[in-house]
Amino acid sequence: MTRYAAFLIRRLMQACIIVVGIVCVNFVVVHLAPGNLAEVMAGQGGGADAGYIAALKERFGLDQSLWVQFGRYVWNLLQFDLGYSFRESMPVSVLIADKLAATLILMVSSLAIAFMLGVSLGMLAAMRPNAISDVVISLLALIGYATPLFWLGLLLILLFTVKLGWLPSGGMRTIGVPSTGLAGILDIARHAILPVVTLTVFYMAVFIRLMRASVLNVASLDFVKTAYAKGMSFRQVYAHHVLGNALLPMVTMLGVNVGGILGGSVVVETVFGWPGLGRLTFDAIFSRDINLLLGILFFSSLLVVVTNLVTDLVSAWIDPRIEVSK
């Protein structure tokens, strides 16, 4: 067995432990809810019928011991059965699958843009620490970090929709525009601009800070001094030695921030009426649909586990030292 395969298996095991842990946390959270679980869930959902309460009791095995309840809960989740949403009259897993694509459009494009901008600006800032370029870029990062996403979204609507009238204020499509083909894609892209910009600003700030610190760290290492000593120019050193080594931890950071972006999409999709997971979360909050909320929480945690796994495997593939050190 190769070293990489061994690393892969060890990392998969770790991921499984995390998933089991997440299931436990979810189970504890459900049972911390004050009062009878089924009644709390149904009551907060508003006007549930007796059949739904019975279904909930059956699902969670409320008349059984806590261990049986836990076993049943795990068994349901293993089959990706996240329960039924009374408010939406649909299984939770179907609801999530329906909304996933819309959220992925926002998530992937803003992560990609934020990563590219953040890495280049962070590099630029760290190349001349305390110079005017560094001060300006760091200020930009501070502003991006401190602006609440929902507020930035409203400001953008105010400017680009209310004042200038250039872009739609919300939704994903224009009624009447064909939903397929080039026209459909362009229509979605036009609607996506403002929400993507909103999400990008915050994560660009995060990546600028991480990249700047990473470059500064690498630049202080001995092999960089060696590179200068053998006569390489400033440009060559940064292009050939610093950039690659500073980028490596950023790959891991890309995975770490997926969870944050999922959270951010809740407010952003709410502000822009974007029909994705975030908007679904807001609707679930509004109707106090706890079963749906728990499903979304579990699913998004799973998404984070998977992306962390992928980014770890990618960075171990790029840099074999990681296999050994972990």
Partner: protein, 280 residues
């Protein structure tokens, strides 16, 4: 000027740090004097709805959709935001220090288990977890504080653990062990004080994150219904975005400035407390 002179005294006197400290001071004073300036609280209607800002001395920031004073909301909002952020950070700090110190001081299975738990909490998306907790426990200040604390402690735990691991075999700790100082006393009087500065820096940034988390929660309608909060004010103003944008703009500026100020002060703290920076 010598390098030592520049680094030795500047962190606190730099314009950015001073600006941050000044803004923070204003917000703090605003939070403290809110009941004195507005004894009736932020809820009663004091004027005609949608009075524009900067028009009169009585309502300098205008009135909202129901004629409530925006200025009163901003002052009381400062109280709520800061209270929630600071108490949640202190709570997260206690959990994080406890977990991190135990894991870092007791190697082996205890460390393994605690680090796995920390990893699990770090994996679950923070904001969605906070939302679920607040919905299940019903929105109240206590629920919001607890929820924010529950998602915020892992970075502190990791930090404290790393510091403890590097300190636990140093001579001054070993000599304490040798003469029979009990472990708890070693942890609290010997090791913990030595890793305080990175913990302080990290928790200052946590306060800023907590302000943003609380704002996001209350914008989504999950704030404590009995108190006004900046996020709630933005949510109240949102339907009137076209006609009265100032209703959304002012509270947003308050959140933004507070978070910027905490960050600037945190940066200055970082440079003042981090001895490694003085190297170069």
């Amino acid at each position: 000027m010598s390098a030592r002179g520049m680094r030795g005294r500047t962190p606190w006197l730099r314009p950015s740090a001073l600006t941050g400290a000044l803004i923070l001071l204003v917000v703090l004073i605003g939070a403290v004097v809110a009941p004195v300036l507005f004894p009736a609280g932020p809820w009663p209607a004091v004027g005609v709805p949608y009075t524009p800002p900067f028009g009169s001395l009585a309502q300098p920031f205008g009135t909202d959709t129901l004629g409530r004073d925006v200025a009163a909301g901003l002052f009381y909002g400062a109280r709520v935001s800061l209270t929630i952020a600071i108490v949640a950070t202190v709570a997260a700090l206690s959990i994080g220090v406890l977990v991190g110190a135990t894991a870092g001081y007791v190697p082996g299975w205890c460390d393994d288990v605690l680090m796995r738990v920390t990893e699990i909490f770090q994996t679950i998306p923070n904001f969605i977890f906070v939302i679920v907790l607040v919905v299940i426990f019903q929105p109240s200040i206590v629920a919001i504080i607890s929820a924010i604390a529950i998602v915020s402690w892992p970075p502190i735990a990791r930090l404290v653990r790393a510091e403890f691991m590097s300190l636990r075999n140093r001579e001054f700790v070993l000599s304490c062990k040798l003469v029979g100082v009990p472990p708890l006393k070693i942890i609290f009087t010997e090791i913990l004080p030595n890793c305080l500065s990175p913990v302080i820096v990290t928790s200052s940034i946590m306060v800023a994150t907590a302000v943003l988390l609380e704002a996001g929660l209350s914008f989504l309608g999950l704030g404590d219904p009995n108190v006004i909060s900046w996020g709630t004010m933005v949510a109240i103003g949102r339907p009137a975005l076209r006609t009265a944008p100032y209703l959304s703009i002012f509270p947003g500026i308050a959140i933004f400035l507070t978070v910027v100020a905490i960050n600037l002060v945190g940066e200055a703290l970082n440079e003042a407390l981090d001895p490694r920076r003085n190297r170069g």
